[in-house]
């Protein structure tokens, strides 16, 4: 059975999902209760979890869920925004196709839309979307949006110090959408305190990585107490009780073992032959003496605490008690590796022959004592850290397991988010830099490659213009190769497939690609060259329309030549203009670490505004359409966020005010306290666009009886057959 995929069905599916998700989004969002087949109940506001819990059947829904989960794997945030945004995009596409007969926009666009319908329209749109995502979006982010960015780091110098108040705002906004509305303040305060307690240096990256990796080991869930009883515990709490606890003071050293201390009669794949009763007795006595002496030896090294990943036999426990050594055994390997990471201690290897050698594998601890949380006993260690992480644990309380789990997940997600926020994010966009020091090597390399392509582009554009004037002598094969090479360079893996079909589209895309290429290489700061770029664009568009070719007044010298391009001699000029660019150094632009924007749809409204203004300046028809489509879809999120608000806080009011401030280039003032990560938002946007292209490029969903075979399997089968 096959299901035809259309925007309409996709929209229907997305709308259902949006209806569910939109009620949980934002500070006014509510909780969802999920039950598992095992009977457990789970509370959640996490979009990814909800989508997974629904066990959706519809093939398109499954595509969407798969996209969301791969997005979550990458960023851990933004599932709900993903769905809402996708739904609005689909809605926009749907209306475009519905209204295509109305000549609302311009004649050109109308003809375009007709063509979209006639040929494989969805493929075309999807490809346009993808081009937009990979080539235009980053530029807009860097050129326009970046001036609105705030930072969680308080100083602009190289020494980044984390600003506590901004972190509080950031976390509060994050937990607002994650946990029940009663607890978000408390949880964000807890997390903020925890983070600052764990951090020694100004830069918390190492701490974030460690906490994110070992989050399970660093928190203890206590069920049955009210949420407000959650607290931060100084030191490390192991999820096990002492097998032996001997109170000790002063100099306590700790050792870690990964094997059973007591020797056994025979190890695996060996045989122990007993010839007499006396031999048996002496060997037993030897085992005892040996265990005893190891313990004595440990004690002589001042080891008062033994941590073990395996269960130690009673004999070991007994001698440990006699020697006054506390033992915690059956620790998970994760816990032990966390301890090793904190105090950089390697496991103690049992000496084979003598016990005389000095073991260095011990470390000091401040204290070790049992900790009782809700009648369950834990071992509580005061480790002395050798890294920037100061060991602390969180005990999370809640009346039911489901709620504690929700808080755990939210906290873990918050650490993931911070981890991502504290990293620079490279944009796929190149701008000129004034100092060469910052330019990265691969970057320059990339630029070089791009510049090498310039002649080709030029060549091609000539072909292109000839083509348009009716002289169809260009070699198609050559173009295909160029296209492939180009897509390899700029666009990542998926795009290759989507690029090839565009050959059928009468060579429109290469033209645009070329324009982008030039535009991307031009520095935004430099007024003169920016002007150049706009003129170049104009010239390109004139070639596109081919109606009023030399009709524009041009003042710049190099553009004079460009104007002749219609007659076939554009190459040298282009080469020149690019050459000037290359002579200066480049660096790839990036969203710097710690970039945030105020919550409440600021990112969406800003991007909306700049996309619209881009669309106004842009002459490429499909770019206009795509920009407008995305711009209007972006507003979907603030619309939902401000839904319950009235009066001056209603969405239209906020929107108009924001537009006004942007037009008069005043600083944006957000009515809501709270910050959110720019990178996170950016990732959602790109993931949604990729998901949309995926949906649009599929035309048929086929039901098969078994799981799709992996490619490698097929290969091996083929080999067998031949």
């Amino acid at each position: 059975m096959a299901v035809a995929v259309s925007v309409k069905t996709a929209l229907q599916v997305a709308e259902v999902l949006e209806a569910i998700v939109s009620r949980c989004v934002g500070p006014e969002g509510r909780q969802v209760l999920c039950t598992k087949p095992t009977g457990e109940v789970l509370l959640s506001r996490d979009g990814g979890r909800l989508l997974q819990a629904l066990h959706l059947d519809h093939p398109i829904a499954r595509i969407i869920v798969a996209c969301v989960s791969s997005h979550l794997k990458k960023t851990g945030d933004g599932a709900k925004t993903f769905i809402i945004f996708l739904c609005h995009l689909l809605r926009g596409l749907h209306t475009i196709t519905e209204k295509e007969k109305d000549s609302l926009i311009s004649e050109n666009i109308q003809t375009f839309e007709r063509r979209w319908k006639n040929c494989c329209q969805w493929k075309f749109i999807s490809q346009a979307l993808l081009t937009f995502q990979t080539q235009i979006l980053d530029g807009i982010m860097d050129q326009y949006l970046s001036r609105h960015f705030l930072s969680v780091f308080s100083s602009s110098t190289k020494e980044r110090t984390l600003c506590r108040s901004s972190l509080v705002l950031l976390l509060e906004a994050y937990f607002c959408g994650r946990v029940g509305r009663n607890n978000h303040k408390f949880i964000s305060q807890l997390m903020c305190d925890y983070f600052f307690k764990c951090m020694t240096s100004e830069n918390g990256m190492e701490v974030l990585e460690l906490v994110d990796d070992c989050f399970v080991e660093l928190n203890v869930s206590v069920i049955g107490l009210p949420v407000s009883d959650s607290k931060i515990i100084d030191g490390l709490v192991l999820h096990r009780d002492f097998s032996v606890y001997c109170p000790a003071d002063g100099d306590i050293r700790v050792a870690v073992v990964r094997e059973i201390i007591q020797p056994v009669f025979s190890t695996s794949r060996s045989e122990f032959v007993l010839n007499s009763e006396a031999q048996f007795q002496t060997s037993q006595i030897w085992i005892m003496e040996r265990t005893k002496s190891i313990m004595k030896y440990l004690l002589s090294q001042n080891v008062k605490l033994l941590l073990s990943t395996v269960k130690q036999p009673d004999l070991v426990i007994y001698y440990a008690r006699l020697s006054g050594i506390s033992v915690v055994d059956c620790l998970s390997s994760e816990e032990v590796s966390l301890i090793q990471r904190i105090i950089s201690l390697s496991p103690f290897v049992l000496p084979q022959a003598s016990l005389q050698c000095e073991i260095s594998d011990t470390a000091l601890v401040k204290f070790c004592k049992p900790l009782i949380l809700r009648s369950k006993r834990y071992a509580h260690l005061g480790l002395i850290s050798t890294c920037t992480f100061v060991p602390h644990c969180i005990s999370l309380c809640g009346p039911v397991q489901g709620l504690v789990e929700q808080h755990e997940n939210a906290l873990h997600g918050a650490f993931k988010m911070l981890r991502q926020l504290f990293k620079d994010f490279d944009l796929n966009y190149v701008k000129k830099a004034n100092d060469q020091n910052d330019a990265l090597r691969p970057c320059i390399y990339k630029n070089n490659r791009k510049s090498n392509q310039v002649p080709k582009i030029g060549n091609h554009s000539i072909h292109r213009s000839y083509q348009d004037t009716g002289i169809k002598n260009s070699d198609k094969l050559e173009k295909t190769q160029y296209l492939k090479a180009h897509s390899n360079l700029v666009v990542s893996d998926v795009e290759l497939e989507t690029y090839i079909p565009c050959l059928t589209l009468k060579m429109m895309p290469p033209d645009r690609v070329q324009t982008d290429e030039i535009w991307r290489c031009l520095p935004p700061e430099n007024k003169r060259i920016t002007d150049d770029y706009e003129l170049l664009i104009e010239s390109n568009s004139t070639r596109n329309s081919l109606t009023e070719n030399p009709g524009i007044e041009i003042s710049y010298e190099n553009f004079q030549v460009t104007n002749i391009a219609g007659k076939g001699s554009m190459l040298p000029v282009k080469y020149k203009s690019l050459d000037t660019c290359i002579s200066q150094s480049f660096c790839s632009s990036s969203i710097p670490a710690g970039c945030v924007l105020p919550v409440g749809g600021t990112f969406e409204i800003l991007l909306h505004y700049y996309l619209l203004s881009y669309a106004e300046r842009c002459q490429q028809l499909e770019e206009i359409v795509v920009s407008k489509l995305i711009a209007s879809a972006l507003l979907g999120i603030p619309k939902i966020l401000y839904k319950p608000k009235k009066g001056s806080h209603s969405f239209p009011q906020i929107y108009l005010r924001a537009l006004h401030t942007l037009q008069t280039s005043q600083p944006m003032i957000s009515c809501q306290a709270g910050l959110e990560s720019v990178t996170g938002k950016y990732h959602v946007l790109t993931s949604v666009l990729q998901c949309l292209t995926k949906i649009l490029t599929i035309d048929l969903i086929m039901n098969i009886k078994r799981q799709p075979l992996k490619n490698c399997d097929q290969d091996s089968e083929d080999e067998l057959q031949h």
Partner: protein, 574 residues
Amino acid sequence: MMSCLEAHKPSLCHSEPLTTEKVRAKLTVLKGVLTSCYGPFGRLKQLHNGMGGSVCTTSQSTVLLRNLSVTHPILKILTTAVQNHVSCFSDCGLFTAILCCNLIENVQKTELTAATTIKLNKHLLNFCISYLRSEICGCRIPVDFTSTQILLCLVRSILTSKPACMLTRKEVDHISALILRAFLHTIPENTGEPIILGKCIIVPLKGQRVTDSTVLPGVLIEMSVQLMRMLPARKSSALKVALFATSLSGDFSDPGEGSVVVSYGVSLENAVLDQLINIGRQLVSDRVDLVLCQKVIHPSLKQFLSNHHILAIDRVGVTLMEPLSKVTGAQPIGSLGPVSPSSYGNAKNWCSAKFGCKHFFHLIPNEATVCSLLLCNRNDTAWDELKLTCQTALHVLQLTIKDPWVLLGGGCTETHLAAYIRHMTHKEPGSILQDDGCTQAELQLIAEAFCSALESLAGSLEHDGGEILTDMKHGHFWSVQAGPPSAVNWPDLLSRCGCGVYSSQEELTWSFLRSTHHPFVPHTRLPQEALEITQQSAHSLTVDCLTAKLSGLKVAVETANLILDLAYVIEDKN
């Protein structure tokens, strides 16, 4: 190749689950079951399985909720929250559950948005807690550890609130005294920091009169009659005790991962037995009097020890090991090698005792924080209920030591609190409302819902169709028998308020709890004379544990908020 396929059935998604009639009906049924159990006059529930098996009679939330199979996820959240609370605090389970149900029910009637109600509920909760913790609180009493009165009241209140224990008044007195004595036994005499409480072991003795129950210091180990006869004569001096954690049965343990080859003619049994006898010899030479073993002692070793007048008791079990180690100061021995002298402990004496039809070996310690509570009741189910109640009482006493306050019981705290909230929302709404975008009108609505939830909780204490009144001075709880004549002299008809602090002869005015009445100022700060009366007539006081009740209040409100916040329920149907 096995491929793991994903769950295939799509889940069911219900929106706004609380608005459906079905869910409301289920909540009402649950609430009905729970309210009918509440308090000293609560009705008992008999739990049985149609297939047979034992029958259980109870009125405790722990037993009830453990055995009820709740299917709806919302109810499941509610019941697990209550169960988790009870597992932490042992007490106030029904209080929490009923309050939570009442809150959900009342708040829904107000038809405000979930966001507002949740915010206001939280504010009201914080307000309640800060009041109950404050100095001016009119419904809490400090615990005076120099006298046992309040503690005894606390234990007695717990015992009387569990009618399924089937105790008479006299038996209640007896058991509460025993529980308090057992608890006092567990407090160490030399109070170093931190105080580590001892242990009270509850020993079952079913089918005896409740008044036969007793508390003994030390450990009781049950023995068969034959063994008792074999016990050697008692010694007058102190006993030296060896406590073995390892098995003395002569089995060969843990040969390792490889194989052990035994040559023909070599008997490992003999070899191990030799070792055991060696230990025996050492025990004899060390002048040990009593050998206790967690696991089995080999008959030969037993014989050897008894020949040397050493008393050997095996199969003690792992649960008794820690108390035994505490009682004797002995360290559990884990090897068959030479015993280090520091491992031995000592005891004052031992004796054999017979209670009912059971024989016990009674180890009398020199001084220790371990005692045995020999608990008797007529039948199994009543004994189970009584045991649970005793555990609750012991736990509550521990909590009270940490936080030495008790709250007035018998519904008085609830009505007083409701009166105080009402008064404050009228007089100083700003003290509750923390400029959160909520209006005063919304606060009034939610406060009314909150207060009536508290009041109807107090009202659930009455099961016999009586009327519930509240006085207009203290805001306490008064109950009167059904069908009072129209024109009555209230002071004659009423005797004491629910908690027993105030008597009806104190020139009070009353009004029906369920009727609408103007907010009044309840007297905060319990007057000193009231407390002094308390001291004299203490046995009539009903008090509750502060820690447990506060946590119950928090859990109830938090859970209610959680349930009110649900936009969807997604049920996995696989």
